[in-house]
Amino acid sequence: MTAARTGTAAVEAVGIHKSFGPTHALRGIDLALEPGRCLGLVGRNGAGKSTLVSILSGLLAADAGGVRFGGEPAPPAGAVHAWRERIATVHQHSMVVPDLTVAENVFLGRLRQRRGAPGWRPVAWRAVRAEARRTLADWGLDIDADAPCRGLTVEQRQLVEIARAVASGSRCLLLDEPTAALEHDAVGRLFERVRQLTASGVAVLYISHHLEEVFEICDEVAVLRDGSLVLSAPAGELSRERLVAAMVGPVPVREIDERLSQLDLSGARAEEAATAGHLLEVRDLAAESPHGALHEVSLQVAAGEQVGVVGLISSGVVTLGRIVAGADRADAGAVLLAGRALKNGRRDAALRAGVGYIPEDRRAEGFVGLLSIAENVTMTVADRLARAGRGVLAPRALERAAAPLAGALSVAAASLKQPVAELSGGNQQKVTVARALIRDPKLVVAVTPTRGVDVASKELLLGALRAAAERGAGVLLATDDLDDIEHCDRVVVLVRGRVAARFRRAGGSGAPFDREALIAATEGLDAPQPREQAQPHPREQPQGPDELDREDGRA
C-alpha cells in the first residue's frame, strides 16, 4: 500500500513558523519524511524540537506554513481522530492507562462498537480483543492482550503504545526520546522494532538526546538550532564532530592546545588521591527515582569548592542533588559530610548537619506562598530564633533576621511582610536561595537554581553561591544548564545515572570549561563507559567554546 506513495513524503513540514509571545520557537521549518525511512531529529534543549513534534502531531497549530501527509493537506486542528490515523506519537513518558487492559489501551479512544441506537452502542469486546491480539501477533509482540497494563514493564508499555500507533493505521510514527527510560538491552530490542517498522514502509521520526543512537538507527539526521533547521544529511555522511558543531552553532575558532589544557584528563585519579579531608563525600550512590536513576555515583566536594554536576534532565543530576540534601532516599551508598554519614532521606537531619538546599521546583518545594518573605527566609533558622527569643518567634524578630540577606539578594517587594505568592518568579527564587543560605550552611546543594529566572537574577544567584564558597562552604550545583557552571571549580557529567566524565576548571583568561566537550559528554557521545576510560576524547574539532557567553553575562 505504501508503494503507491513512494516518492511522495509520508509527512512533510512546509515553511512552519511558530511563536510564543516574543519567543520565536520555529522559523520556517521545511522537513520531509519519506516512507520506510527513519529520520533523526536532534537539537539542544530549547532548540524547538518539542514545538515541531507538537505541530507535526496536530497538538499545536502553526502560525504560518503547514503539514502535509502523502502530499495532501493535514486535517484541521482539533480533528484528533483524523490526525491519529495519519501520524502517531510514542511519548517519552508512558501514556498507557495502567488500570485498563492491553487491548483497551491499544484501541484507546476508538474502541469498536456494535450497532445500536444512537447513544447506546455497546463496545464490541470480542472484536476489540481479537483485533488487539492480531496486531500484537503481527508485530511479534509477546504481550497478553487481556492483561492489565499495570503489571507490564516500561518496555512492554512502550510496545503497547507502538501497537496503538500501528493499529490506528497511521504510516508515520514519532518516537520522542523513546530510550530515556529503557535499560540497555531493551534499547537494542526497540531498534529491532524500528527496523521492522521502517521495512514495512512506516516513516519514523526519531527524537533523541543520545547521538550514538541516532547514528545507529537513523537513515538521515536533521539538526534544529534556535528554531531553524541548520543541517539535514544522511547519517552515513555525518561525523560526530560535525553534528555536535551544528547543534552548538558557530563560535570563534580557538587554539587547540589551549582547549586541551582545559581538559582534566586525570580528574578521577586526582580525586581518589585526595579523598581525605573532603567536606562532602558521596560514595557509590544508587537510587531509583522519577527524577532519573543513579548507579554507583561517587564524588567529593572540598570546603570552599564549587562542584557542578551536569547532565540531561533525566540523567540523575536532580536525583543526586536531592539525595545529598536529604530530600530523597538512596537505595545504596552513603553521603558523608565532614566524615559523618548523613541520615538517608532525612532533610531535617541534613539541615542540622549543615546542608543548605535550593530545590529544583520552587513552586513545589521552595516556599510557602501564603506566608511572608520574612517567614519563608527564616524557616530554616526558626529553631535558633526561637531559642534566642526564649520560645517566642516574634514577627519583628523574623523580619530583622531576614532583612540582611533579603537586602543582599535584592528581593524586590513592598515589605518583608508580603506573601511570597505575590512576588515575581525571580524574586521567589531569591527567597528560596535566602532560605538556604541564612543558616550559614557548610554545604549548599543547588538543583537547577537559575531555571526560569531572568539574566540579572541569574548572575545574582550564581554570585550568591560563589560568595558562599568564598566563605568556605562547599557548593554542589546540580543542573542541566551549562551556563550555570561557569563559576565551578570542577564539573562531573552524568549520563543515564553514571559518571561519564570529569572536568577541572582551566586556569588563565579563557573560558573555564570546554563547552563543546561538555556538551558532547552530556549528550552521551562518550558514555556510558567504565570510569577508567571516561574522559572525553580531545578530538580535533573546528570550533572552541563560546566566548560571547561571558560578554552576555556582563551585559
Partner: protein, 377 residues
C-alpha cells in the same frame, strides 16, 4: 551557542526593564481595582484585600463575620427581651458554646495542617463515656471500678491522645486517606461508646468530674473561661511559637516545609493528637453540663457538622494553611447565637435543623463576599 546567546539578549532586555518596576512595589500596587459592572464591587473588595499586608489581610478575613454577628444580635434583641441579658448571653450561650468551641480549636488545628478529622465527634463522646463508666457506681450504669474522678479525667485525656495518635500514624506513616481513616474511626469509637455501657447513660457524675462543665464564677461559666483561655493560648501559640508557625508552613506547602528542614511528619502527628485531646476535653465539658454521659453525645448528635461549619465560617480553609483562632472563635459564637435566637423564638422543633442549615449557608456566602476569594473555601 548562538541559541543561548539570543536567549540571554532577550532576557537581559526584559530583565532590565522589569527590575526598576519591581523595586517600585508589589506587582499589583497599581491594580486599578478590578473591573466595573456586575460583580465589580466584590472584585474590588478582593483586590483591596490583596494589597494589605498579610497580617492585615488575615485580620480582615477573620473579622469578616462581624457584620453577621451584629445582624444576629439585632434580630435577637428585637425577637425577645430576654436575649440581651448577661444571664442569656454569658451564662446561657457561653456555657452552651464552650464544649463545641474547644472541639473547634482541635479541628481547626487539623485543618490548618491540611488534614481533616471526622472522628473528633466520637472522641467527644467516647472519652467522657469511658471515664464516667469507670468512676460512677454500678447503679448509675458504671463499671463498678469506682475510680477517682481525677484519675477519670486523666484517662479521658489519655483516650483522646491515643485516638489522635492512631489517626496520625495511620494517616502520616501508613499514608492512608485521612477522610476514610477518620470516618472508620468515628464509627468504631461510637460503637465502643455504645457497647461498653449497653446503651445506658452513666449519671451521678462526681462534682470534681462535672465541675468544668457546670460550675460558675459569679455569672460566668467556668467552661467559658477555660474555652476562652484555650482559644487565646492556641492563637498565641500559632502566631508566636516555632511549631505554631510550622503548622502554617506545612498546611501551606508540605513539600516546601520539608525542604526547609521542618519535621513535617512529627508535627502532623502531634496536631492529630492535640486535636483529639481537645475533643475529649470538649466532651468532658458537655458531660459536666448535663451531669451524665449519654450514648448520643458526639456521634449520634452529629456535632462534627457544626464543628466543621464553625471553623470554615470562621475562615479556616479546608485546604490548609489559612485561618486562625479569631475566626474560629467568631464562627463558634455565631452558631451559638443563632441557636440561641432559634430557641428563644420558640421555633417548632421540627423546623430547627432547616433554619440552622440555612443560616450556615448564608453565613458562608457572606463570609466569601466580605472576605474575598480566599475565604470560606
Amino acid at each position: 551557542m548562538s541559541e543561548t546567546k539570543s536567549e540571554h539578549r532577550a532576557d537581559s532586555a526584559s530583565g532590565a526593564a522589569a527590575i526598576p518596576g519591581d523595586r517600585g512595589g508589589p506587582a499589583n500596587s497599581n491594580d486599578p481595582g478590578g473591573p466595573s459592572g456586575p460583580g465589580g464591587l466584590f472584585a474590588r473588595i478582593g483586590a483591596r484585600t490583596a494589597q494589605r499586608s498579610p497580617a492585615a489581610v488575615s485580620w480582615f478575613r477573620q473579622a469578616a463575620l462581624l457584620p453577621v454577628l451584629v445582624v444576629i444580635l439585632v434580630v435577637g434583641a428585637l425577637q425577645s427581651s430576654a436575649f440581651f441579658t448577661v444571664n442569656n448571653l454569658v451564662s446561657g450561650v457561653g456555657q452552651q458554646v464552650s464544649a463545641l468551641g474547644v472541639t473547634v480549636v482541635g479541628e481547626s488545628l487539623i485543618l490548618l495542617i491540611g488534614g481533616m478529622d471526622l472522628s473528633l465527634e466520637s472522641t467527644y463522646g467516647l472519652a467522657p463515656m469511658i471515664a464516667a463508666w469507670l468512676i460512677v457506681p454500678k447503679l448509675a450504669f458504671g463499671s463498678g471500678a469506682m475510680l477517682s474522678p481525677y484519675l477519670g479525667i486523666l484517662i479521658l485525656l489519655a483516650i483522646g491522645a491515643a485516638v489522635g495518635l492512631v489517626n496520625g500514624l495511620l494517616i502520616v506513616k501508613v499514608r492512608l486517606n485521612g477522610f476514610i481513616v477518620t470516618l472508620g474511626m468515628t464509627v468504631l469509637l461510637a460503637g465502643v461508646q455504645n457497647g461498653v455501657v449497653h446503651g445506658q447513660s452513666p449519671y451521678e457524675l462526681p462534682s470534681a468530674f462535672s465541675y468544668l462543665g457546670n460550675a460558675f464564677v459569679g455569672q460566668v461559666p467556668v467552661s467559658l473561661l477555660v474555652a476562652g483561655a484555650i482559644f487565646v493560648l492556641t492563637g498565641v501559640f500559632l502566631r508566636y511559637h516555632r511549631v505554631g508557625r510550622s503548622i502554617y508552613a506545612i498546611g501551606g506547602n508540605p513539600e516546601a516545609a520539608r525542604a526547609a528542614g521542618i519535621k513535617v511528619d512529627r508535627v502532623k502527628i502531634g496536631v492529630y493528637v492535640a486535636g483529639s485531646v481537645f475533643a475529649a476535653l470538649g466532651g468532658l465539658m458537655e458531660a459536666g453540663k448535663v451531669s451524665s454521659v449519654t450514648v448520643q453525645q458526639g456521634y449520634q448528635e452529629g456535632i462534627i457538622f457544626t464543628v466543621f461549619a464553625a471553623a470554615v465560617i470562621g475562615g479556616v480553609s479546608l485546604r490548609g494553611g489559612r485561618g486562625g483562632m479569631v475566626g474560629a472563635a467568631s464562627g463558634v459564637i455565631l452558631l451559638g447565637l443563632v441557636q440561641n435566637v432559634i430557641d428563644l423564638a420558640q421555633v417548632s422543633n421540627y423546623w430547627q435543623l432547616a433554619i440552622s442549615g440555612t443560616v450556615i449557608l448564608f453565613a458562608l456566602a457572606l463570609a466569601r463576599v466580605v472576605g474575598g476569594e480566599a475565604s470560606a473555601d
